[in-house]
Assembly symmetry: C2
Homo-oligomer: 137 residues x 2
DNA sequence: TATTGACTTGGAGTTAACTCCAAGGTGTAT
DNA sequence: ATACACCTTGGAGTTAACTCCAAGTCAATA
């Protein structure tokens, strides 16, 4: 599979894929005799994992570490497992922050929608919502 | 409340708070006669919202736009509501990516844990999991 | 009142993760 | 065989969001 096809499939740029390979986010990709990238099934799976983890905000350094351990062979299985568990905890913590923000947003949206309906903006004083401050004249 | 206290409460640096104010992520903060920042309750609520939305990955530009609309007054209520709804959709989309990554991670963790137990690494061929490629010798 | 430490500003520097570029090689359609 | 589009590399440039710095001001303490 050409770089172009892989890009289309995972919605990333060729520069990004070459960059990932260069810094070790994915292992070296299979080439044609002429030196042109020709992604194997395994290469594609690595791209899939890299783009999936990246779009969940995992730092590139972590992926590089994972690939490095993988290339070292089976004696790094425990280390890889630990790395993934830590990554999972990170993502769970991040997701919690998303949920907090969602809650705050939904509250604000409710208040604004009611204001559009009734013409009066009424913030619950107990809420720790910033929108209750009135613009200073 | 001093800048230091606000920093401690929201776990951000003084530079970050000053930066937020400078670029308009929060409105101008109340000052003492000497010109030193003395955060009011409302100021603090803005900081809370800013840090909450930022840690959910909302870009600063969006927060600046929200504050700008707020300062323009009540005729921007509909616009603010629309902005928040769009922000909410973004966060939902981001959270979906987190869930996808979590699922992939949990699968890999399960396989690695089994490998640690049994001594054999066995990836389900149907899964689109990159870890099934063997290191090239 | 002098020292000390925290605060102020505008502007420059840093970091992660790309993104672009120039100079040249590959491969396929005429 | 000659365009032509697309690929290669190493290295430089960009962007968002801080983060640091220098030079000066403020405020609490000895």
């Amino acid at each position: 599979m050409t770089i172009k096809e892989v890009c289309k499939r995972f919605n990333v740029s060729p520069d990004t894929l070459r960059y990932y390979e260069r810094v070790g986010v994915i292992p070296e990709v299979h080439r044609t005799a002429g030196g042109i990238r020709d992604y194997s099934d395994d290469d594609i799976k690595w791209v899939e994992t890299a783009t999936c983890f990246r779009s969940a905000g995992m730092p590139i350094e972590l992926l590089i570490e994972y690939v490095k351990l993988f290339l070292e062979g089976d004696h790094t299985i425990q280390a890889r497992c630990d790395l993934l568990k830590e990554a999972k905890e990170r993502i769970l913590a991040e997701r919690k922050k998303f949920d907090d923000a969602l809650e705050k947003m939904e509250y604000k949206i409710r208040v604004y929608e009611k204001a559009v309906e009734t013409g009066r903006l009424e913030w619950d004083d107990e809420s720790s919502c910033c929108c209750c401050n009135k613009p200073k004249e």
